[in-house]
Symmetry: C2
Subunit: 426 residues, 2 copies
């Protein structure tokens, strides 16, 4: 083995090409690119790879005698990416990956191989792109008890919400703009549904709390139901709407655990998360004895993701690689709670434009123990028979909220189109 | 040696007591507190140290047979703290310190010992308290070329400026309030002069660029000259004033280098740094290929500083300690530039309240190549014979600005009380 670690890189899309280019420039002095694999050997990627060994089969990188470390940038939850990573770990070769879908879906098997075999599996690029959130949660806050993680973990959703806010666009128009600019996929479901943010939250929670990743433990609501009217109402409360992934310690003792949610949240403009605009990502971490820190930056894109991959390579090259989550998923003992903590809520209804509607709606809220702090109703310029009304509640138990919402939805003659969003708490 | 690293802790102030308490709770599983040293063995610090060896002389921790790692929380640029750290490094015992003044003043000697002997000297707590800026710059952005660091590195100044802004206080009243709340020392000179932020910037720049720390290379201006009127004018430009420490690559080739400044800066409210309020600190890092990331959080206080110390202990316990700056200061080759980059400027004058004053002032600016983008003049309710005027300039070379300011200051009949602040660039 030479005194530099020798890199085999699988996947030469934008991220892979940037990583290759930086490695060839000597950006990580102790690492050397020796072999690459991609579908098309001939494609011009803006980087001269003529001196680098090209292998058609990514798995051949694992058996390649000159390759010490595998970089997996193929993508996909299973298939070749998973085969490659498993083969590398079994061969004792450290892995760097940006593949959050694979990590979230196969955390247990991969951690058995990585932790069990004490083979580094680095994944900074899998969450929040270029922002060093994995390093911060695992290393920068070592010695703390983390009590809450709140993140803007999906740049597509944040772009759409920011543009609805800044330009008064509808969800559909903002989505279309995001697609035209490359901030959203042709099929945006994985992003706008909150599923992508949920995968990232599962990975963060495994690291921060030792909760075994399981998407079934995460309450996920996307941004599809947020309307231009909601954005305008939020403005009246000096707030914006953000898709926030939260993993927070709740309860205590046998009732204790970590509650996970990804959902649109009403955020006061004075909060740092409200200032995170467009395609940026952010993570706010509350911990004892630290207090709260927030990191923000580019959560996607070739340069940002490449930056995280290079940092992982540098750690491994320095001999400071770490196994996935440090602890095997099968050994994780922290429980996920299904009990949403009490919160203030933003409740938007459409109320029938006739006497008694408001009285009935407020009576239903009161009967279910939901106490109102603020109300805004605006007359409509159209001749709609339903008018939008927004309530901001006092602190409300989630069960009370759900009972109130169910009761309201039965009153189809006086109200429809109900949306409830938690209000972000400091 | 046991399988845990054994800690000797010198200094039991707020930070030291918090670190001791967390170590005794097992917050760093691979570390064990075995010995402490402080002036007063008997003082109640809210933590039971009765089972821990107490030594009166901090230097005795180095020769203590059960101590593997020294935590220096004594403070002070030289004296006992320096003696302790040097003795520990000479003995090959890793050190964790929060002592920015010592590091800035004795960087060369300490790096010779640490890098030369390959003994870890960890200092996360020395810059920006609990925010993991050292780890982010060194590890999280490894593989990047850093082009600019901009930080709010002094919580006292940020508190004062935030309070002037929020409550319309004068500098003197905001300082007094900060002192009453414990955010400023009885003698606030080191903070309000910008010197403290300068020390932190020197440490960051050594790490990010490899510039040997030297306070003479940093252009330092404090916040003492910022008035309530400046804060009000800033508001008219939808901006705030922040004390910003900047280390930025300027020029190229033999004219290239890193320019260092600590000074009050006009920051648009839409910029993330403007949202950093009160005693918080922040660091914005621009790098290639990453883009820009920003970290914010508590820059001081027992819990925040203890958090950083604990993270350093955890790294050393995991075998991942690193020597000071990785490279010895004597080997650092990057040069510090004295050439301030071109900038837009905020120029505040007091102009004589008589015909021709404004014409003369604008003529002087024009003659010196300073082009004006915006002007605000307000009539005064008092009967002052001088009225404040503010110009925002177009991009201006620093030499042109200085020539214009010198010429204006000679015109004592038409103008006095000149203040120029750079406008923060994205």
């Amino acid at each position: 083995m030479s005194d530099k670690i020798r890199i085999g890189l699988a996947g030469l899309g934008t991220v892979g090409a940037t990583v290759a280019s930086r490695l060839l420039q000597g950006a990580v002095p102790r690492a050397k690119l020796v072999a690459v694999s991609a579908r098309d050997a001939k494609k011009d990627r803006g980087v001269d790879l003529s001196a680098i060994d090209f292998v058609a089969d990514p798995l051949a990188l694992v058996s390649h005698p000159d390759v010490d470390v595998i970089i997996e940038l193929i993508g996909g939850e299973s298939g070749t990416a998973l085969d490659l990573v498993e083969a590398a770990l079994k061969a004792g070769k450290p892995v760097v990956t940006a593949n959050k879908a694979m990590l979230a879906a196969h955390a247990a098997a991969l951690s058995d191989l990585s932790v069990g075999g004490n083979v580094p599996l680095a994944f900074e690029a899998a969450v929040a792109g270029g922002i060093p959130v994995i390093k911060t949660v695992r290393e920068g806050l070592a010695g703390n008890d983390i009590t809450r993680l709140c993140g803007i973990l999906n740049g597509t959703c944040n772009y759409i919400l920011s543009r609805m806010e800044a330009a008064g666009l509808s969800f559909a128009d903002a989505l279309k703009e995001a697609q035209e600019l490359g901030f959203a996929e042709a099929d945006p479901t994985l992003d706008v549904s909150g599923a992508d943010a949920g995968q990232k939250l599962a990975i963060l929670s495994a690291l921060a709390y030792g909760v075994a990743p399981d998407m079934d433990n995460i309450s996920v609501t996307g941004i599809e139901a947020v309307t231009a009217a909601d954005i305008a109402f939020a403005e009246e409360f000096d707030s914006v709407i953000r898709l926030v992934g939260t993993a927070a310690r709740v309860g205590a003792g046998s009732n204790g655990g970590v509650y996970h949610s990804v959902e649109p949240v009403l955020v006061k403009k004075s909060q740092a998360l409200a200032q995170v605009l467009n395609e940026l990502n952010a993570l706010s971490i509350t911990a004892e004895p630290l207090g709260a820190v927030m990191l923000q930056g580019p959560g996607a894109g070739g340069g940002a993701t490449a930056s995280a991959v290079l940092a992982d390579i540098a750690d491994i090259a320095a001999g400071f690689g770490r196994p996935l989550f440090d602890v095997a998923v099968s050994e994780m003992t922290e429980s996920a709670s299904q009990n949403a903590p009490a919160s203030e809520y933003y409740i938007r209804l459409a109320l029938a434009d006739r006497p008694g509607s408001m009285a009935k709606a407020t009576q239903i809220l009161a009967e279910n123990g939901v106490s109102i702090e603020e109300v805004v109703q605006r007359s409509s310029e159209s001749d709609d028979s339903y008018l939008p009304v927004v309530f901001i509640t006092h602190q409300t138990e989630n069960a009370s909220l759900n009972a109130a919402l169910a009761a309201l939805e039965k009153q189809s003659e006086i109200c429809n189109a109900v949306l409830a969003l938690p209000v972000f708490a400091d």
